[in-house]
Subunit: 138 residues, 2 copies
């Protein structure tokens, strides 16, 4: 509760109930969420547009980042502290084909790739699909 406010203040955002609720939804569910997921969870309390704008704001402020899989666009919390100025961009995301959930594997580094000459890389984004530990156990 109090922590949510801290996060918002730390990114120079006013604390509103919508922002608190969106943020806590990201924290409670641990996987990446689409706009639709959030609308499903909070849609009765807030307007679709407000949720879109909240996501956009969180993106710009570096609170969340985009996650892409074969189904489309989702968002996940940035655990490395990102800010408006400096985004930490390299991510590995794992999507489970059984439960459909996608999450961010925080502590892994993407190994170096030997690109053909002339290609100058700036950011890397690796999506691995397979089976997650929870689904493997069942």
């Amino acid at each position: 509760m109090e922590q949510l406010r801290e996060t918002l203040k730390g990114h120079h955002l006013r604390t509103t109930t919508c922002r608190e609720d969106v943020l806590s939804t990201f924290i409670n569910r641990k996987n990446a969420l689409s706009h639709g997921d959030l609308e499903g969870a909070l849609g009765e309390n807030y307007d679709r547009v407000t949720i879109y704008r909240t996501l956009k704001t969180f993106l710009e402020k570096g609170i969340i980042h985009k996650v892409l899989d074969d189904e489309g666009l989702r968002y996940a919390l940035c655990s490395h502290q990102c800010s408006e100025e400096k985004h930490h961009h390299d991510h590995i995301h794992f999507k489970c084909n059984a439960c459909g959930k996608t999450n961010c594997l925080e502590n892994l580094r993407i190994p170096n790739v030997a690109l053909p000459s002339g290609y100058v890389p700036e950011s890397f984004n690796l999506l691995i699909q397979g089976t997650c530990p929870e689904c493997l156990a069942n």
Copy 2:
């Protein structure tokens, strides 16, 4: 021309002018294309819906595969021979932030990633963003 027909026949598809045109657009432009790109190129000749269905069919038959970047969904030719039964899934895509084009780096392998225990990977998809050789030269 003749080659297009061969490709279509090889995937058990009827040769229609729309399919030939979509396929040759993929071959001529070498980068990944969105539905909008194809609509821009062929939209005066074919209905939007037909282009959507052509893409869907090509996907199912393993002629093209999805390419995702931060802007959305595109498609690129499968150069490794994919079929309806067996798709070759591991890809490295490079998106140039200068010209905006995305293409598939065919001959690279994605290096192994040491996943936490319990994660069973099936396919890998790496998106690298940066500057491409053409834009670097200019």
